[in-house]
């Protein structure tokens, strides 16, 4: 008899027996995974291994073939989630001002106008917003648009926040700013964050755990913990511990590529 695979304590997301194939090709076969609560987990792996697919299946954007995904024992429908897309230009609603973009999910939940305003003000303060939120997304810079996306994803106080390559379309200055803000938000709210990244440095820098995936059919190669104190500033990119974890991650990655 197969032993029941109970989740570890302090688990937010439990994945059991997940199967997924595309056009007859197996991507995932019987994947079991626990993702910790209130932590930042980066998903990293070779091209085409299905990093984004895994995240999108958890977020309910791609159907799974078989298996179960639970959030603290609840289904997706019972869980509040936030999602930040790689392409902020396509994710924001250009017919609404930045302010109304952030307020939209709250209004649709039936929140009163005064409360909506309070929440948006709270977020602007947290993100130290210096630009005019009454402008339309296409009038803002890329970094400002992505900031608005993150604020919108956080507006509903999600339990889990998904970020799909949030830095890949941003310049370095903006990447540093958003890294700072994400850490700050995570500390303040304790939201569980799941980040997909194709950049090793980005993947390691923010993470409490780096989930390393193999080539397809995809398995978990290793879960690398990274415990450097927070908040991590840009200077910590030369910290010996960061360099050690990055080197180790790279080693595992290269080993998986070679197989």
């Amino acid at each position: 008899m197969k032993q029941i695979d109970y989740p570890q304590p302090n688990t937010q997301i439990t994945i059991r027996g997940l199967d997924k194939s595309f056009a007859g090709q197996t991507l995932y076969k019987d994947l079991n995974l626990d993702l910790p609560k209130g932590k930042i987990v980066s998903i990293f792996g070779p091209n085409g291994c299905g990093k984004s697919t895994l995240m999108n299946m958890i977020a309910g954007l791609i159907p799974i073939d078989k298996g179960q995904i639970l959030f603290d024992g609840k289904t997706l429908a019972e869980t509040k989630i936030g999602y930040v897309f790689q392409n902020y230009r396509d994710a924001l609603f250009p017919w609404l001002t930045a302010w109304h973009n952030i307020a939209y999910p709250l209004k649709r939940r039936g929140m009163k106008a005064a409360q909506v305003k309070k929440k948006v003000d709270e977020l602007s303060e947290m993100f130290d917003i210096r630009f005019d939120l009454q402008r339309y997304p296409y009038e803002l810079s890329g970094g400002q648009q992505q900031t608005v996306c993150i604020m919108r994803a956080l507006a509903t106080d999600p339990e889990v926040m998904f970020l799909d390559e949030p830095f890949s379309a941003l310049d370095f200055e903006m990447t540093l700013f958003i890294r700072d803000k994400l850490q700050q938000v995570q500390l303040a709210t304790g939201v569980t964050m799941l980040i997909v990244s194709h950049d090793l440095e980005d993947a390691v820098f923010l993470a409490d755990e780096i989930l390393l995936l193999t080539r397809r059919p995809t398995r978990v190669a290793e879960i690398v913990p990274f415990t450097l104190a927070r908040p991590r500033t840009a200077e910590m990119m030369s910290h010996p511990e960061f360099i050690r974890v990055k080197a180790h991650t790279l080693e595992v990655f290269k080993r998986e590529m070679a197989e």
Binding site: A59, G60, L61, A77, K80, I81, G82, Y83, F85, N87, R89, D90, A91, L92, F93, P94, W95, Y104, P105, R108, R109, Y136, P137, Y138, T156, F162
Partner: protein
């Protein structure tokens, strides 16, 4: 400064060249002067006709028919297009019909419409509305179908209901393309109204006036009426562009 001045004057070069060419053609007698009056005379006649109001009835009739046809077409075309566009399989099942009738010159259907509606105003409005409705429908449907998937997914993860995704996201996403359809549709309606006025026993309208002037050999009136028709079509386009700019300020920017 000088450069901006020259730039502002650029749009006038074309019309001035046409005026000079026309003038030369008349004074050099390239064409029989009976068939082509000078531009000065024609414009003089046009302004006289506009100021003494003798053209007003015809302009009014054409305007009324075009706008009525357009309104009918928009009321049917936009909602139907949006509904068809929201279901890919629904659209695919009627795609052939839409494309077939969109490719059929509407003027070919004038005799058929005469059988159904008789020689009435309704007939002219109906045939012009038919011509416009398919363009409008087609554009609205494609606007919805080409809605950015990311925006729909963004709404999905927010837990927005299907009806609100349709109303708040897909409908708004389709607007830029819908406006292209409306603009093309109104031009189409004007074309068909003018043709219908020429050949479906009309008593009024610019189309009727043009063919009447030709029959009576009132050449100046014919040219003046043609110019008014052109100006009318041009103004319709400008007005629609202005409305579009206000209603879909994000068009082409996002």
């Amino acid at each position: 400064m000088r450069q901006t001045w020259t730039r502002r004057l650029l749009p006038f070069i074309g019309p001035i060249l046409l005026y000079l060419l026309w003038e030369t053609a008349v004074s050099a007698k390239w064409l029989n002067p009976v068939l082509l009056p000078s531009p000065g005379e024609t414009l003089g006649y046009l302004f006289k006709a506009l100021s003494d109001g003798s053209m007003n009835q015809d302009i009014g009739a054409t305007f009324y028919r075009t706008i009525m046809a357009f309104i009918v077409a928009a009321i049917i075309g936009v909602p139907l297009g949006v509904v068809l566009g929201s279901s890919e399989s629904l659209y695919r099942s009627v795609e052939f019909l839409v494309d077939f009738f969109r490719s059929t010159p509407s003027s070919a259907l004038i005799p058929l419409f005469m059988l159904i509606f008789g020689i009435t105003d309704t007939n002219k409005i109906a045939i012009a509305a038919f011509a416009a409705v398919l363009v409008i429908l087609f554009n609205s449907a494609y606007g919805v179908m080409n809605a950015k998937k990311t925006r729909i997914m963004a709404a999905q993860v927010m837990g927005i209901s299907r009806w609100h995704i349709f109303k708040d996201i897909m409908l708004m996403e389709s607007l830029p393309q819908t406006f292209v359809g409306l603009r093309t549709g109104v031009s189409m309606a004007l074309v068909i109204v003018i043709v219908a006025e020429m050949f479906i026993g009309a008593e009024t309208g610019l189309g009727h006036r043009i063919i009447d002037a030709q029959q009576l050999f009132n050449i100046k009136d014919m040219y003046a009426s043609i110019l008014v028709t052109g100006a009318f079509g041009y103004l319709l386009n400008v007005v629609f562009l202005l409305i579009e700019k206000r209603c879909v300020h994000w068009s082409g920017k996002a």
